[in-house]
């Protein structure tokens, strides 16, 4: 503190006098001339603090380590959730969600703080429970299509070609499957002729599959004529249902 001797000598003398009278309860004698005033102590330094995390990004359930150090601090508080800590140290944290940690250092010289953010990401969802693989029978039912025929005919018509193409695809990719092709007829023809027509239908489907690359040995045929209908109404919807080559997985 600079003394402005020129301006306030009286104030200075008063102060010295006050100090001398207050500071000591001893008998005052004629005081020796006061010593030269001591220089004022330097003001305290401001605190500093640093805070670091070992990992800024963790997954839920994982932990990170916070490290800090400080100077000129007498009190340190680490928030959230931890509280007073030593001027220098570390601790493990495992926040449930992303958290910004702040350490505040206070000392005679003031306070300081530092922050670090730990980001928590959700874990990957657990894998769904494993489903049993579809059985071969289920795959067969889903991917093999019967061929339908016109009245009194065994020709493979356009929609039957599509059905047989899909069936061939399945059979080509599932080489272990063997098939029985059943030929069926509607009720309007005669019993005897329908045994023959059912055979022709089954054979027509078989030949078409062979032409699409399915090995002939995997395909067997049987004619049921009109003896095993799929429905019995006397109407075209039912009759068409019965005019077909029907695929069965052979055992």
């Amino acid at each position: 503190m600079l003394i402005r001797s020129t301006r306030k000598p009286v104030v200075l003398l008063a102060l010295v006098a006050l100090l001398m009278s207050v500071g000591a309860c001893k008998k005052e004698v004629a005081a020796p001339p006061p010593p030269a005033p001591a220089p004022a102590p330097p003001p305290p330094a401001r605190p500093t603090v640093t805070l670091q995390a070992s990992q800024s990004f963790i997954q839920s359930g994982e932990a990170a380590t916070l490290n800090w150090s400080s100077t000129n601090a007498t009190e340190l508080k680490l928030q959230p959730g931890i509280g007073s800590v030593a001027p220098e140290g570390s601790t493990r944290v495992s926040p449930a969600q992303s958290t910004t940690y702040t350490i505040t250092a206070t000392g005679p010289g003031g306070s300081a703080d530092a922050s670090v953010r730990v980001t928590v990401s959700a874990p990957p969802p657990p894998p769904p429970p494993a489903r049993p693989a579809a059985t071969l029978e289920e795959l067969f039912r889903a991917n093999v299509f019967d061929a339908y025929y016109d009245y009194d005919k065994a020709d493979v018509r356009a929609d039957a070609r599509d059905a047989l193409a899909k069936t061939a695809e399945f059979l080509r990719t599932h080489q272990q499957v063997r098939v029985l092709i059943e030929g069926h007829c509607d009720e309007r023809g005669s019993t005897e002729y329908n045994l023959a027509l059912g055979d022709r239908r089954a054979q027509a489907a078989r030949q078409f599959l062979v032409s699409l690359g399915v090995a002939a040995e995997r395909l067997d045929t049987v004619s049921w004529g009109k003896e095993r209908p799929f429905c019995t109404q006397s109407a075209e919807e039912c009759w068409q249902q019965n005019r077909r080559a029907h695929f069965v997985m052979a055992r």
Partner: protein
């Protein structure tokens, strides 16, 4: 001895349909026959006397070659023995009988004795035509049998040697047990019984010419392990199946050669369905037809053994064809308009072909064609679906399947389409086949033996 079963065409060119008239002796009036009540000699034989009289009457009525005198005209006195018979009571008004069948029955400690006579009552000089004595078990079954036998004797006499069919059987398919099995019944619908118990699907039964076996279509495992249509044979003698060769593919509609040595059948063993022939021993397989499309339902001419009729769709839809038994000379049977033609069946004299025809806008109806002239006659019309005709050995009757009552049933009729009679009533019944003349019935009770014979009339065995 002429063949009998002669058919006379009534030709009237303008008529939409012609009718065959069946009968024997062209233009001769039918004999008037009276069947007297056969007299029970003792109380115990009364019910069997009733059965005998009823069956004999029905058999003679069925024959189509005579006129039965109504019972209401019979004289009151029932003749039990020839001494009782007063011909003048029978040949005058109102009876006007030409012939009388009469006799008696005695039931004696479970044996039935039948004495039966057939007298010409217009001729007092030599009235006896038939004189028979039968001894059988005292059961209704046996009583029916002897009545059938006696009826056939009468019919044979009246038709100049052509035997009656009263002792014949009809094989057919019935689904009444829940499975289509081969069944048999008397020609009049009595005694319906299953022959097979395969519990699968059995079809198209055909009697062998000696009536000892029935060939039919069955479903059985082939060599490859697949269940498919095969030819099966049932033995009437053992009541059991007889092993037969199995082939790939669909095998169906077996038909016997008239001499019983071969079977012709449809098979798709080499591709599309064709006709094949094989010895009944199962050897010597021969392919007979070579055509695109399906050939099926073969029928062998029973008189000549040389011609086979069959169904083929080589022209697009099923039609009738003829060919020689070796497959040569295939000829299409042309019909007036297109339609679906199936089920060929030869008459015993080999001159007529019955078949089923669904004409455009029509239903399945039965027709008969004279193969020589190609003239056709319609037998059924507007009465359901009528299919699978099969001729009786007398050439006068046809058995067939019809849906005219709603369900599919077996019917018989005269070969001119008249006198239709329903034989089955339970479940669904189809695919009838009339047995040859002699039917051997090992299950018949008693010591009544049937002679086993062939279509040419040779007989083995004897009556007791």
């Amino acid at each position: 001895m002429f063949i009998g079963g002669f058919l006379m065409l009534l030709t009237s060119p303008a008529a939409a349909q012609d009718w065959f008239r069946t009968g024997t002796g062209l233009g001769v009036e039918k004999a008037r026959v009276a069947v007297a009540e056969f007299a029970p000699r003792n109380q115990a034989s009364q019910p069997l006397a009733r059965v005998f009289t009823d069956v004999l009457t029905a058999d003679l009525e069925f024959s189509g070659i005579l006129e039965l005198v109504s019972k209401s005209f019979h004289p009151l006195r029932v003749p039990a023995v020839p001494a009782d018979l007063k011909v003048e009571e029978w040949n005058r008004e109102p009876v006007l009988a030409h012939m009388v069948a009469f006799g008696n029955l005695t039931l004696d400690s479970s044996q039935l004795i039948v004495e039966a006579w057939f007298y010409d009552v217009r001729s007092a000089a030599t009235p006896a035509i038939l004189s028979k004595r039968y001894r059988v078990d005292g059961t209704e079954t046996a009583a029916r049998r002897v009545a059938h036998e006696f009826a056939d004797e009468i019919i044979s006499r009246l038709s100049g040697g052509l035997p009656g069919v009263a002792t014949t059987q009809i094989a057919f398919i019935s689904s009444r047990t829940g499975f289509k099995e081969v069944w048999a019944m008397d020609y009049d619908g009595a005694n319906q019984r299953p022959l097979t118990n395969l519990r699968s699907i059995s079809l198209t039964p055909r009697w062998s010419p000696d009536a000892a076996r029935i060939a039919f279509t069955c479903y059985a495992r082939s060599a490859s392990g697949t269940t498919s249509a095969q030819i099966c044979i049932h033995s009437l003698e053992t009541g059991k199946p007889v092993a037969f060769v199995r082939y790939r593919g669909t095998n169906s509609t077996p038909a016997w050669a008239p001499d019983g040595s071969k079977i012709i059948f449809m098979s798709s063993m080499h591709g599309d369905p064709e006709l094949f022939m094989i010895d009944t021993t199962g050897t010597n397989l021969k392919r007979i037809t070579y055509s695109a499309g399906a050939d099926t339902s073969p029928a062998w001419n029973p008189k000549t053994g040389q011609t086979i009729a069959f169904v083929s769709d080589r022209g697009g839809i099923p039609q009738l064809y003829l060919m020689n038994a070796d497959g040569s000379n295939v000829e299409k049977l042309e019909l007036p308009d297109m339609g679906y033609v199936i089920d060929p069946a030869w008459s015993p004299n080999g001159q007529l072909l019955a078949f089923s025809w669904r004409r455009p806008n029509g239903n399945y109806d039965l027709y008969v064609m004279d193969v020589a002239t190609r003239q056709i006659v319609e037998l059924t019309r507007d009465a359901g679906r009528n299919e699978r005709p099969s001729w009786a050995s007398d050439g006068r009757h046809i058995v067939f399947e019809s849906t005219r009552t709603g369900a599919r049933q077996i019917w018989t009729m005269l070969a001119d389409g008249s006198a239709a009679r329903q034989l089955t009533f339970e479940g669904h019944n189809e695919s009838p086949n009339w047995s040859p003349r002699w039917f051997s019935a090992p299950e018949a009770s008693g010591r009544f033996l049937f002679a086993r014979g062939f279509l040419d009339g040779r007989m083995n065995g004897a009556f007791l």
